[in-house]
Symmetry: C2
Subunit: 416 residues, 2 copies
Amino acid sequence: MNKITCHIITIGDEILYGHILDTNSKWLSQKIIDLGITVSKKTSIGDNNSDINYNIKKSISNYNLTIITGGLGPTNDDITKNCLNNIFDGDLVYDEKTFNHIKKIFKERNFDFTQKNKDQALVPNNCKVLLNQFGTAPGMAFEKNENILISLPGVPFEMKSLFENGCINLIKKKFTLPFIYHRMIKTVGIGESWLSDKISNWENNLDKDLSLAYLPSIGRVKLRLTGKGDDISKLKVKVKKEEKNLVSLINKYIYGYDNDELENVVGNFLTKTNKTISVAESCTGGNISSLITSVPGSSKYFTGGIVAYSNEIKINSLGIDQDTLNKYGAVSKEVAEQMAKNIRIRFNSSIGISSTGIAGPSGGTKEKPVGTIWIAFSDKEKTISKKLILTKRRDVNIVLTTINALNLLRKNLKID
Amino acid sequence: MNKITCHIITIGDEILYGHILDTNSKWLSQKIIDLGITVSKKTSIGDNNSDINYNIKKSISNYNLTIITGGLGPTNDDITKNCLNNIFDGDLVYDEKTFNHIKKIFKERNFDFTQKNKDQALVPNNCKVLLNQFGTAPGMAFEKNENILISLPGVPFEMKSLFENGCINLIKKKFTLPFIYHRMIKTVGIGESWLSDKISNWENNLDKDLSLAYLPSIGRVKLRLTGKGDDISKLKVKVKKEEKNLVSLINKYIYGYDNDELENVVGNFLTKTNKTISVAESCTGGNISSLITSVPGSSKYFTGGIVAYSNEIKINSLGIDQDTLNKYGAVSKEVAEQMAKNIRIRFNSSIGISSTGIAGPSGGTKEKPVGTIWIAFSDKEKTISKKLILTKRRDVNIVLTTINALNLLRKNLKID
């Protein structure tokens, strides 16, 4: 099987000017690699004729698949479409389906349907038209010898919908592709290099049709195990076998698989066990509650929280003991544990969690430097806490503390 | 003055695979445009010899400035450096400053200093070496005829530091560049198209050496007014004059300029007026407190908050009247105002703000569909509220409500 190569071209001055971040090509890369195609190059060019012409002509000769996004908006519509029409030597004709679709959109929104709008339905007569359910600019697919070029609008949700409902089938029909099978294993509470040490033996002995990628984010590392081959059922068996071996090495750090997120995983645990949770936060300033409530349906298990920034609030609203505060300070095991226990009792929930620490950049002392943070967990059986020594950066400390608090929760949630 | 062109090349499989988002080239674009240089093209290629060779050779002939990031890490160090050495026909030699710098880093961290580490100090003898204060891979600048090529490491903070402390001067020395003067005007509470309507007359009559860009984000639009010319003092006068005209058209929507953020602006207002704030949140789930406390030093004016998700907590911890809840429902003007007033009194702060609504995706009714949200502001003189009709998306609704609540606060903070 020959390697199928792809070149992604994004068109638009806003990317060259650095006004927007190019998220389209990242999304497309992953989707294209999942099809068993090699993404060899990405190019961003501006809305001008000569650059578009030059790069498209070159790409269609050099790569099996060229995907263009952008350059189809009403202001620069003509440039890209006309370029494509010239390069592929076609004639612009009205596409009836697209015409009716645009007309319908304008009627629904009660907008005037002008000549310019009508002309969005003009397409080269030698392309396959891809109807854009969510917008007015259609996608277009051209073939030249063994290669294809697909032009998509730059608006992310229009582009994504067109790629998934149309392009994938078209690409699969055109090329003989290997099967790709992914499994994402998601870890928390262990750094990338320690993780790598624990699994290096296993990783070095992987079959050549399997590969592993490390995808780190703050406090978490995702491991993507990929199998590539001609026989999908054999491949799945192989990936599952190696996944099992991998899991046995790092089980206690794994919080989920594939699309699982830490906040959804603990939310599901709480739902399944019919438990509720409340949160007492100091240094995280509401970020733990915010992450928990980002999950749809979290009102079923999240009762509420208190952000106790000042000592006065810690005493009056959370009932923290004044003597404890004086003796150990607000950033201490004792205060963290009282916070978790008291919020649980006051908010009448099964579980309470808490954070207190020095997020920075100021407020550190020699004994308790910036990044010194305590988190705690309390249910009716026990109250426990953990000390974290984090970074000098406020934003990073807030996120790391939030992730650590949810991980402490995860580890103490038992499913029977 | 001739147009100076730039090509940004990012090297690394992780970008082509879609594992990471290319934020480096967005950052570089803005910095390069700020120097008066045109960014004509961006290219991403993988860690392989032929692609690196081909693209670098082509770029150095076609563009005045080529900036490469990435490809200098320990695993693929040799490829990019050797490619550059071959293309520019040099010899690899040890750079003493870099050597001593790397040695020092390894000593400080107590790591073994191996041959591979030493070799990071090898550089082509015909380049200008840029010492990397924050890492081990140095930057390199090559000249060919009228053009220059700069190679930088891919780690964002190393790249940024090298660009700002070294590259900018180098580029300014090499090319005759126009002056660029920017002013960012930041608005909240008005959509992009309404803003455009209000200022279109002004915008259409701007001098040809001035230009305006709209940079929208959720709930806010930044306007970037740019002047480009040969005489910096004349340019500044021109930009300031037009800024004044612009501000007079949209003054009530402007929350700040240049690096101001909404949360910092309200934080500064609170500090200046010696006021404190507390927050009672329902549908935003802690996000308002979280944004306020993301500002370093916010403990001076933020006393704390309550996230009251359940009605029980609204009654017991916020003292919301049971009858009000029964009569008007939790999502109502009356409950929002009680929340803002009660948190202010209970948390003993000068100001209280609140949110209550249906963030979605479920929980909507015919009378109160998803996206129906009330926010309120209370100080000792008055308690006021505002109804918001937002979207169907939970994540967007949470951010929009947070921004609207901070804007309500901003508008009601008076500076004498």
